[in-house]
C-alpha cells in the first residue's frame, strides 16, 4: 500500500500530462477538421443542386473549385430582399430568424437553381439537409440530407436515392401560386389525384420521420416564400 500523497501526486501528474497531450493534438488538428466540415457542407449543397460526380468521388480541392466557380452565396431577408455584401457564414447569431442563406447555381452566367438549408426534428434526431428549386422558383430540383440519426432501413431511408428522386420535378406551389410545400404521404402517390403534383411516396414504417419532414420543409420554405414569389413573377414575365 502506498501513501495517499503518492496516489494523489501520481493521479494529478497523469491527468495534467494527458490533458496537455489532448489539447495539443486537438489544437493542431483543428484547422483540418474545420476545412473538412466546410467542404462537407459545400459538397452537400452541390449534390442538391444536381452536380454529379463524373469521375469517381470528388477530392476536397475539386469540391471547393466547383463550388467557387458555379455557386454564388447570398443572404435573403424575410421580406425577400437580397442583402448585399453578406455571405451565409457571416450571418450573426441574433439575426438567424430574419436572414437566411441562399446558394445560387450559375451556369453560363444564368441562374440554374437555388438551394436552401432545411432542418428539423424527425423521430430521433434533427435532420439537416439542402433543398433545391429550379430557376422558376416553384419546381423541385433536388433534396439531400447530410446529417441525421434516424433508424437505418426505416427513417434512415430519407437519404436514399429512391426517396429523394421522388421530389424532383414536383411543385411547391398550387395553381394560384400559394405555397403548399411537398407532402410525403403514407404509401404510394396516386398519380390521378389532383394533389399528386406536390406529393411523394412515403417511407413505410417511418411515420414520425416523414411527418417531421413535411412539417419542417413547410416551415423552411415559408421563410423564403417572399423571395421565391418574386422569382416566380420574374420568370413568368
Amino acid at each position: 500500500m502506498r501513501s495517499n500523497a503518492y496516489t494523489l501526486i501520481f493521479t494529478s501528474i497523469t491527468t495534467v500530462l494527458l490533458g496537455f497531450l489532448l489539447s495539443f493534438v486537438s489544437e493542431s488538428l483543428k484547422e483540418t477538421q474545420r476545412i473538412n466540415e466546410e467542404i462537407d457542407i459545400m459538397k452537400n449543397i452541390l449534390y442538391s443542386l444536381e452536380f454529379t460526380e463524373k469521375d469517381g468521388p470528388w477530392s476536397g480541392e475539386e469540391v471547393k473549385k466547383i463550388f467557387d466557380s458555379s455557386v454564388i452565396q447570398k443572404v435573403v431577408s424575410a421580406d425577400g430582399e437580397v442583402i448585399e455584401d453578406l455571405i451565409p457564414s457571416e450571418i450573426r447569431a441574433d439575426k438567424m430568424e430574419t436572414q437566411f442563406p441562399l446558394y445560387v447555381k450559375v451556369v453560363n452566367n444564368s441562374v440554374d437553381g437555388y438551394a436552401i438549408p432545411i432542418s428539423g426534428k424527425g423521430l430521433w434526431s434533427t435532420l439537416y439537409g439542402y433543398f433545391a428549386l429550379e430557376n422558376d422558383g416553384s419546381t423541385v430540383k433536388g433534396i439531400r440530407f447530410y446529417k441525421h440519426k434516424e433508424t437505418p432501413g426505416l427513417g434512415g431511408e430519407v437519404e436514399k436515392d429512391w426517396f429523394t428522386n421522388n421530389f424532383v420535378g414536383k411543385k411547391i406551389v398550387d395553381k394560384n401560386g400559394s405555397l403548399v410545400s411537398i407532402q410525403s404521404i403514407k404509401g404510394q402517390v396516386d398519380t390521378s389525384s389532383p394533389d399528386a403534383y406536390h406529393q411523394v411516396d412515403g417511407i413505410s414504417g417511418a411515420t414520425m420521420t416523414t411527418k417531421g419532414l413535411n412539417e419542417f420543409l413547410m416551415n423552411d420554405l415559408k421563410k423564403y416564400d417572399s423571395f421565391f414569389q418574386k422569382i416566380r413573377v420574374e420568370s413568368k414575365g
Binding site: R2, Y6, F10, T15, L21, L22, V25, L29, T151, P152
Partner: protein, 208 residues
Amino acid sequence: MKLFDSKSKQALKDPLMQDNPITFQVLGICSALAVTVKMDTAIVMSFAVVFVLTMSNTVVSIFRNMIPSRVRIIFSLLVISSLVTLTDQYLKAYMYDMSKELNVFLALIITNCIVLGRAEAFAMKEGPWRSFLDGLGNALGYGIILVAVAAFRELFGSGSLMGFQIISDSMYTSGYQNNGLMVLSPGAFIILGLIIWVQRTIGKIEEE
C-alpha cells in the same frame, strides 16, 4: 530474451481463434455489432481498436509498477479515453466521412470491455513487449469477428461488399431481394450467434 519466445507467441496467437475475445471471452460485444452494417466501417473500427488496445496495453504495462493499486482502474480509463480521443480527432481530420458514420460508437471503445479487461488481466502483470503482443492479438481477434459479421450483413443486406455491388442487377430483376433484416439490429445478433456456433463446432469447444 528472445523476441518471440513461446509465451509471447501464445499471447499473440491464442486470442485469434481459441481464446477469441468476442466469441470465447465474451468481451467487447457492444460496439462490435453496431458498426457491422457495412464492411468499411467495420474495418476502420477494427483498426481503431488495434491502435487503442495495443497502445493502452503497452502504456499500462510500462507503468504497472508505479500505479497505486487504488487508482488502477481510473488510470487505465484515463489512458484509454485519451487514446480514443486521439483516434477520434485523427479520424475527424483525415477521414471525415468515416468519423461521421462511426460517431458515438468510436467513443464507446472506452467502455469496450476488451480494452479494460486486457489492461487488468494481462498488462498489469506482464512486460511491455508481451502486453503489446497480447493487445495486438486480442484486437485482431476482435477485428476478425467484426469483419466476418459485417461481410455477411453487407452481402445479404445490401448486396455489396466494401460498397461494390456483388449481386448483379439481373438477379434483382428476376425477383431476388435484399434481406432487410440484415441491416437492422436483429440481423447482427443472429449472424453472430451462427458464427459462434460454427466456430465452436470447428474448435470442438463446449460451454459449461
